[in-house]
């Protein structure tokens, strides 16, 4: 079964299964992860096969989930915790930011924190509030945490493997509106390092840099732009901490234009950091200022407005045009 086509959700499930099989220290923890298999069924069947000692339904307390995962990690376990939705990570934010992120440094490097915090995130599923947010910048800003997000089934499988193997805490953002998108997973070949960006589509006129749910939108935009004779390169960043600035730089030195796209609010977002660094690194290569497309400085809107709120094809293409117009 070297190569198989499956949904992102299934790839994540297979990845967790493999991790549980390979290392008895790996634990799955979270609300409803057991019999129900998680509200998105990412842990479907795992409790049945690995038991309640390995796949643990927790009380409804996010601070408790992450706090006890820290303790389990101190005891040599490798907890993979599930936060049910993006908006519910904040009760655990204290534990993640003040404890999980700093433990290694405070212990003079003698203590490792191999904790993965999986968070289904971002919008597009018509949910009520707190179920569609993109808080990745809040985590990427914190030293000590690594922050990643896959955009396709292969990365979902492999990046989760790599995150679980990492001795650092990894905040693993899963693009929930892409859970059911299918793609090929090669179970024998790791597609790349966890924190390396990947060129998803080659182009020469402008680079679109995105991650998670927006990669698909950017690929569609690139295809649409191609029909108008514009050659758009799409970079899947994959990691928001660390960011593969070398990878972005290489692309920008080729295309000379960069548009960063994410669902999260633009203000002080991941795109802001990329714009600043790339402007520093590539000042003499750039033909246009680095542009950003993303969310507004407003709460994520009610479901009936999310199509207008979320950056779609038009807004990405508009930015491409603006970049090319300089």
């Amino acid at each position: 079964m070297a190569v198989e086509k499956m949904s992102i959700a299934k790839a994540l499930n297979e990845s967790l299964r493999k991790a549980l099989e390979q290392d008895p220290k790996v634990l799955i923890m979270g609300e409803d992860v057991g019999k129900l298999g998680g509200v998105f069924r990412i842990t479907d069947g795992l409790q049945k096969d690995f038991g309640e000692e390995r796949v643990i339904d927790t009380p409804l307390a996010e601070s408790g989930i992450v706090g006890t995962a820290i303790g389990l990690a101190l005891r040599g376990y490798r907890p993979v915790v599930e936060i049910q939705f993006d908006g519910f990570v904040f009760p655990a934010y204290d534990q993640i930011v003040t404890q999980l992120a700093k433990m290694h440094a405070r212990a003079l490097g003698k203590v490792k924190m191999p904790v993965v915090v999986r968070i289904p995130y971002a919008g597009g599923i018509g949910a009520v509030e707190h179920h569609s947010e993109s808080p990745e910048a809040l985590f990427a800003h914190v030293p000590g945490l690594k922050v990643v997000s896959p955009s396709n089934a292969s990365d979902a499988y492999w990046m989760l493997q790599q995150a679980i193997l990492s001795d650092d805490p990894v905040i693993f953002f899963e693009p929930k509106r892409r859970y059911w998108d299918k793609g090929e997973v090669d179970f024998d070949a790791i597609p790349g390092e966890l924190h390396k960006a990947r060129v998803s589509r080659e182009g020469s006129d402008v680079t679109l840099a995105a991650y998670g749910p927006m990669v698909k939108v950017c690929l569609e935009a690139a295809a649409a732009a191609a029909e108008e004779g514009k050659s758009v390169e799409v970079l899947d960043l994959r990691s928001m901490s660390p960011v593969d600035f070398d990878g972005i730089q290489a692309s920008v030195e080729k295309t000379r234009r960069l548009v960063v796209v994410h669902e999260a609010p633009v203000f002080l977002g991941v795109g802001a950091e990329i714009a600043a660094r790339i402007t520093e690194r590539c000042f003499y290569h750039l033909e246009a200022p680095v542009l950003r497309v993303g969310g507004f400085h407003a709460p994520y809107p009610p479901a009936r407005l999310e199509d207008e709120y979320l950056p779609g094809l038009d807004r990405v293409l508009d930015a491409v045009d603006r970049s090319l117009a300089y």
Binding site: E31, D57, P91, G126, V128, H297, P301, L305
Partner: protein
């Protein structure tokens, strides 16, 4: 147990509505009303059996006086509330299935807990609900169609909380128990003659916020009632995943009383909540009420309980249905005739129709609503982004 802030409080009203009269009865017997000590917690307060018979026993003796004023007409009123609430809830579930709502959290089975507690409140009391308190909203006079906006996805709330002293639904579980506590601290500071009630679930009781709310309300002796609807499940997790001792007993450790009431018995819920509110108003501080009930349906319309729940369990609880119980009582005591039930049926149908039509007519919000009410004062960045987005949208209309 008097603290400075409560000593300054206005004396509680001794006359007025029937509701107040019931509580006043009991207040006339302060010895009994304060006899509820930490080591004398009852097991399960029940006034109506599942068969609809009135019960008198040691466990309910302290609470029964709080519904001594309830007339047959009041009972019919409580019955009507429960039927209307269930009809509304059923309509909302159907509307979700028809694609008119994105999601619905049904209260099916929890009508007695909500109507009993909701009808115990005075107008000046303030309610902090979760996302499932449709019956309490009904008691507060909130237009049921307002509750549907956030489930339809046209807003994040949909009503002015101060109009009916009914706060917005809170989705992050447990958060609102702290808001209720703070509000109650303010009530105490103001010396006001009112109380606050916070609703939450058995699952939410595991949240740190709830423990912190218990701590704050205890040390500040705040006039707040914590009303936990233990419906046995938190999505797929049974109560055993949240606690090892009965939930109501937890209050003891914080220094205030906890009571477990039959959550499918509307009369008992009314009595116990009145009792707890009365304590709060008298300056005796917080109470934890655990309404022992059952979530008959799925957690929400997105949930599939067949993955984790047994049919026998649901069937056993069906026999305890809160509406059938009061109906049996009304029929056995001659409190209502067939005409009453038939008229109520028609009334609930009409309400269902009104809700259906109102939801279908509910307009989508204007796109620019994204930028509305982000701040009370202006904010330069929001203004800038609003202008940019308006210009961007206008560029389509100009046919660019």
């Amino acid at each position: 147990m008097t603290v400075e802030s409560t000593a300054a409080r206005k004396p509680r009203r001794s006359s007025g509505t029937k509701r107040a009269a019931g509580a006043a009865n009991a207040a006339a017997k302060p010895a009994a009303a304060t006899a509820q000590t930490l080591d004398a917690v009852p097991q399960l307060v029940q006034l109506l059996t599942p068969e609809g018979d009135r019960v008198d026993n040691a466990e309910n003796a302290e609470f029964a006086p709080f519904v001594a004023d309830i007339t047959t007409e009041d009972l019919r009123g409580l019955y009507r509330d429960m039927v209307m609430t269930r009809r509304f809830d059923g309509e909302a579930t159907a509307l979700q299935r028809q694609g008119e709502l994105g999601l619905w959290a049904s209260l099916l089975g929890q009508e007695a807990a909500q109507i009993g507690s909701g009808r115990a409140l005075n107008d000046e009391d303030y309610v902090f609900p979760t996302y499932r308190e449709h019956g309490v909203a009904w008691c507060r006079g909130v237009d049921p169609t307002n509750l549907l906006g956030m489930f339809r996805g046209v807003n994040h709330g949909g009503w002015d909380p101060n109009l009916n002293n009914f706060h917005l639904y809170t989705i992050v579980i447990g958060s609102q128990t702290l808001h209720a506590t703070g509000y109650a601290m303010g009530v105490a500071k103001d010396g006001a003659d009112s109380a606050v009630i916070a609703y939450f679930g058995d699952g939410a009781s595991s949240q740190g916020d709830v423990a912190e709310a218990f701590t704050f309300s205890a040390v500040y002796n705040s006039p707040v009632v914590f009303f936990c609807q233990n419906n046995q499940w938190a999505i797929s997790e049974p109560t055993e995943r949240q606690m090892r001792v009965p939930l109501y007993q937890r209050a003891q450790g914080f220094g205030f009383p906890g009571v477990r009431v039959d959550g499918n018995d509307v009369l008992a819920c009314l009595a116990v909540t009145r009792w707890a509110l009365d304590r709060a108003r008298r300056g005796e501080g917080p109470t934890l009420v655990e309404a022992f009930t059952y979530r008959m349906g799925a957690h929400t319309t997105s949930d599939d309980p067949t993955k984790y729940r047994r049919d026998e369990e649901t069937a056993a609880w069906e026999a305890k249905d809160p509406i059938l119980r009061l109906k049996a009582h009304l029929l056995a005591t001659g409190g209502a005739d067939e005409a009453f039930f038939t008229e109520l049926e028609a009334e609930s149908e009409a309400m269902g129709k009104r809700v259906r039509e109102a939801v279908r007519a509910m307009p989508d919000p204007d796109t620019m609503a994204i930028f509305e009410n982000v701040y009370a004062d202006g904010h330069a960045l929001v203004d800038e982004e609003r202008a940019q987005f308006a210009a961007y949208l206008a560029s389509f209309e100009e046919g660019h």
